[in-house]
């Protein structure tokens, strides 16, 4: 007979993980703002470089999230 309940395990993240997440978010916001504003300033290469950095940062964040999930 199967169990009629689920067990939810809440894993406490270390303080530095929150710090890294906050830093990542800050860099993402700054990157997107720079990309958009550079476009408005007609600095198209700066905008392109900023979008590439944002994409790279998004990828790094995604991989880190996935790795952290697997480790848990």
């Amino acid at each position: 007979m199967g169990r009629d309940y689920h067990t939810i395990r809440l894993r406490r993240r270390p303080w530095w993980a929150w710090l890294l997440a906050a830093l990542w978010l800050l860099l993402m916001v700054a990157g997107v703002q720079t990309a958009v504003a550079s476009g408005c300033e007609s600095e198209y290469r700066a905008a392109a470089v900023s979008w590439v950095l944002v994409a790279a940062l998004l990828l790094v964040g995604g991989v880190a999230w996935w790795q952290a999930g697997r480790a848990a």
Binding site: Q33, T34, A37, E41, E43, Y44, R45, A46, V49
Partner: protein, 457 residues
């Protein structure tokens, strides 16, 4: 505390928190734009711009004297004849005229008829004024004096007087204004074939033989007028030069109207653009910016992309102090302007020195002196002024992207990061020429100025 009171207390807490959160957007502007306490300088700069007792660059020695006042154009002409002969000068001028016409006919981007005439017409206001005449009159033009109105002249604390003049300067179009003490050594010896002298008289005068500045004029309102960044990015073209010509006309307008305002308050005022005295040292003393490798001023908000002008007055005002926001240290490591200068006119020296490069430099102060002869020779080749050094300077940035403010602040407090910022400036492609022809189809703000940037000036 009973249970009911506890519940009320919790609700009260939530209400307080909600009110606080809702009040933040209201409270913050109130803090920023609230009434000015008496005695406070209204020209507040970003936190990373420090005031200092002495300028970061410009140390003088015993050789430092009043500049002769010879026009740089006249000096170039004389040197050209001296070095290469009269025929070379004539050939250069003929080539200039020929290229101008050819490029108009060929519709060369940035050098077409509309580009050139936009630039030429930009001079209109400036060319209608001469030192001592018109907008640059040394005495009252039309404004009624307090005596004519039957009232006392304006009087307040020195700081309030300074704030009043700075507010008026911004109103007339200054990007930044500061007050410096008069320094007679910054005033030219001659202009227009006349001497410029200081005398113990009540009012300025323009005579047959001399310009007379009253000794009681002990204050100088130094003004920076921001240039159109979108045009500077098109340098070196006729279109790009429009930023310069319009800048000069705006300067004439600002100092002319400000001088009339000061006269209307009951004081004497002499407006000046590039005439009469050196604008840069007054601007440095007034805290508008720092001297740089360009041998020009770099301001926190507009970088080097400003035209400078000033008003001499006997209106007592609180003086500002020079500023330091890391420009000299940045220039030591950057050298982008010197590398990009097509004529090799800018110094590659690591440190500024007292070594002048020619008679166009006023000796006796430490600087990165430029070779104006080479610079002007290049102007003849491109048929307009150049401005590449202004365009490529990492401090020449619009204000929309937050990252620029971050970099300026970081360069101010952490000079070891300067080389990294310089490298990133190249990676992000700043300083590259923008397509001139596109300017005509872009939606331009008035005077090409980003309002966020002007507010931060």
């Amino acid at each position: 505390m009973d249970r009911k009171n506890k519940r009320v207390s919790r609700r009260g807490l939530l209400k307080t928190a909600g009110a606080a959160a809702g009040g933040v957007p209201l409270a913050v502007p109130a803090l920023v734009t609230g009434p000015e306490p008496a005695g406070r300088n209204i020209h507040q700069r970003p936190w990373w711009v420090r005031t200092v007792e002495r300028p970061t660059l410009g140390e003088t020695n015993s050789d430092f004297q009043r500049f002769g006042g010879a026009s740089i154009f006249a000096l170039y002409r004389d040197l050209k004849v001296q070095r290469e002969g009269e025929a070379a000068l004539k050939a250069e001028r003929a080539a200039n005229r020929r290229h101008t016409a050819e490029w108009i006919r060929q519709k060369k981007p940035g050098f077409g008829l509309r580009d050139r005439q936009l630039m030429e017409a930009g001079w209109t206001v400036m060319r209608s004024a001469r030192p001592g005449e018109g907008l640059l009159a040394w005495t009252r033009v039309r404004v009624q004096t307090p005596a004519e109105l039957g009232v006392d002249r304006y009087a307040a604390s020195p700081q309030e007087m300074a704030n009043t003049v700075k507010a008026a300067a911004r109103f007339y179009g200054a990007g930044a204004a500061g007050i410096a003490p008069m320094n007679e050594k910054y005033v030219n010896l001659r202009q227009g074939g006349k001497d410029i002298v200081f005398e113990d008289v009540d009012a300025p005068a323009v005579g047959e033989q001399k310009f007379v500045i009253p000794r009681k004029m002990k204050w100088v309102v130094a003004i920076a007028v921001p240039m159109d960044l979108d045009l500077i990015r098109r340098a070196p073209t006729a279109l790009g030069e429009g930023a310069t010509t319009l800048g000069y006309s705006q300067c004439a307008f600002v100092v002319g109207t400000l001088a009339e305002f000061i006269r209307g308050l009951g004081y004497q005022a002499i407006p000046s653009v590039n005439d009469t005295a050196q604008s840069v040292p007054f601007a440095v003393d007034a805290g508008l910016g720092e001297m740089s490798r360009l041998n020009r001023l770099i301001t926190p908000a507009f970088g080097p992309a400003v035209r400078l002008c000033k008003v001499f007055t006997d209106m007592p005002m609180a003086c500002d102090k020079p500023v330091d926001f890391g420009v000299v240290e940045f220039c030591k490591r950057c050298k982008k302007c010197a590398e990009e200068c097509p004529s090799g006119a800018l110094s590659f020296d690591d440190e500024p020195s007292f070594r002048v490069r020619g008679p166009w430099n006023n000796p006796g102060h430490k600087a990165w002196y430029e070779d104006s002869y080479r610079c002007f020779q290049h102007w003849q080749e491109v048929t307009t002024d150049c401005g590449i050094c202004f365009a490529v300077c990492p401090y020449t940035k619009a204000a929309k992207a937050w990252v620029h403010r971050f970099v300026k602040a970081a360069a101010s407090v952490a000079p070891p990061a300067d080389r990294f910022f310089r490298a990133m400036d190249n990676v992000f492609g700043y300083g590259r020429q923008h397509a001139p022809e596109k300017w005509w189809s872009e939606d331009q703000p008035p005077f090409g100025l980003d309002s966020e940037q002007v507010r931060g000036g």
